[in-house]
């Protein structure tokens, strides 16, 4: 593997992690909001 393609792979991996974390964050925030709302209802 050339240095260039390794750098490209690293960049792609970083992008993948950013995408996954942002989706994960949306999931966690929605879950927290849901739990908060239901807790008000208990």
């Amino acid at each position: 593997m050339t240095a260039r393609s390794t750098a490209m792979n690293k960049e792609r991996e970083r992008k993948n992690v950013r995408t996954a974390l942002s989706i994960g964050l949306v999931v966690l925030v929605s879950l927290a909001y849901f739990v908060y709302n239901v807790w008000q209802f208990r």
Binding site: A20, G24, V26, V27, F41, R42
Partner: protein, 529 residues
Amino acid sequence: MSTAVHGHTHGHDDHAHHPTGLRRFLTTTNHKDIGTMYLWFAFAMFLTGGVMALIIRAELFQPGLQITHPDFFNQMISLHGLIMVFGAIMPAFVGFANWQIPMMIGAPDMAFPRLNNWSFWLLPPAASLLVVSLFVPGGAVAAGWTLYPPLTVQMGMGMDLAIFALHILGMSSILGSINIITTILNMRAPGMTLMKMPLFVWTWLITAYLLVAVMPVLAGAVTMVLTDRHFGTHFFNPAGGGDPVLFQHVFWFFGHPEVYIIAIPAFGVISQVIPAFSRKPLFGYTSMVYATASIAILSFLVWAHHMYTTGIPLEAQLYFMYATSLIAVPTGVKVFNWVATMWKGSLSFETPMLFAIGFLFLFTIGGFTGLVLAITPVDIQLHDTYYVVAHFHYVMVAGALFSAFAGIYFWLPKWIGRMYDEKLGKWHFWLSFITFNLAFFVQHFLGLAGMPRRIPDYALQFADFNMVSSIGAFGFGLSQLLFLYIIVKAIRSGEKAPARPWEGADTLEWTHLPTPAPYHSFETPPLVK
């Protein structure tokens, strides 16, 4: 979709450096290995859930209590539903996603291969919990797959095992979905724009978003049941001022999109198979994408059509009736597009196409009975009858399962490099088609005549149709053993598959990779024009 591709055909792909034996499958990060494991796991669960279905149908063969205790019958009903939905159909389509998405978008693997391995290996412990719950004091969950309280607040520890299993299955689905979304958004080959993606990939992108949105809701709902059971809360327990109907709202906010989580990837498979055997591009590609997205969005807005009999206000009944009827529009767009794809096509009827056409006929029947049930006054009569059971088995079995069969026969040559026995494949289709209708078509009549679901005994006037249904169910079950034989025969001694066994198939895995697909594919991405 027709995609012109140029560039090199495949790289140094055949050098598959991987452990062998059990370690290969325990530690693999290869999307093809993981796809294979998902598919075999789903098939094992399909047989497990199938045996439970046959216990149910054996009990219902004649009126009166024959072979099971009523409580055990309820456990069979519940586990059959949970295992088929979460253990069989969903993992089967995740198996397709693993195998196909990287190859269809020209990616070397999924975005997070190790996460992918973990998503799979979460499944066997969860499925084991469900099955083992049969043997704990009080037995397995016996409230149906919908897990309605207050029953589920009162049950034995089998319910706790089911809750834990659902937590694990939900985690697996969320992680798998994040992986799929990231793969599709970030790892497409140069030139593969979103609107050039094969429809199967589109359907999975939309499904993954649905999963991410609703699995936490299910996890929340069952966790609330858990805290009601053990930690003194009263969310759903009327004895403490809770509201069981609240659970139904939360559950169906997950449950209705779940129907589309199962159906939409099935639409994706059918959208690949029908053009290939019609030798024409898919009719109305863009409208298919928008129709799929519309179905997904609408699926969030119709949940209370499962709850017309709970006493929701008339205005709410009207809203949910109209909103539900609206789903028929994008679904109709899809059905008409599939038919228009076949129109004036150069059709041939190999096994994948037979299952796709079988899907088209029977899923449309399931869709129409869904519309019947969407009409509030009709549903109030038919709620919890066998009409509902018939309806959703037309969607789940003839819809999702037939589409999975179509996909397996279609891509098997690409996966294993060998052909299945075409004659036996056709036998499998016709036996499945006929016995499926024997088992489930008559259930419409039983429901219309008022036979309730989830009951181990019934009045004498329902006897004949129940006998027919049970005969059909056993025939359907036996036909699936033929399917297993066909697959094993193909793997062991199938004829060598040509590079492109279906000349109408034009996605990257067919045009750009050898058959069978090498262990590592698209290490250098292809250029898509």
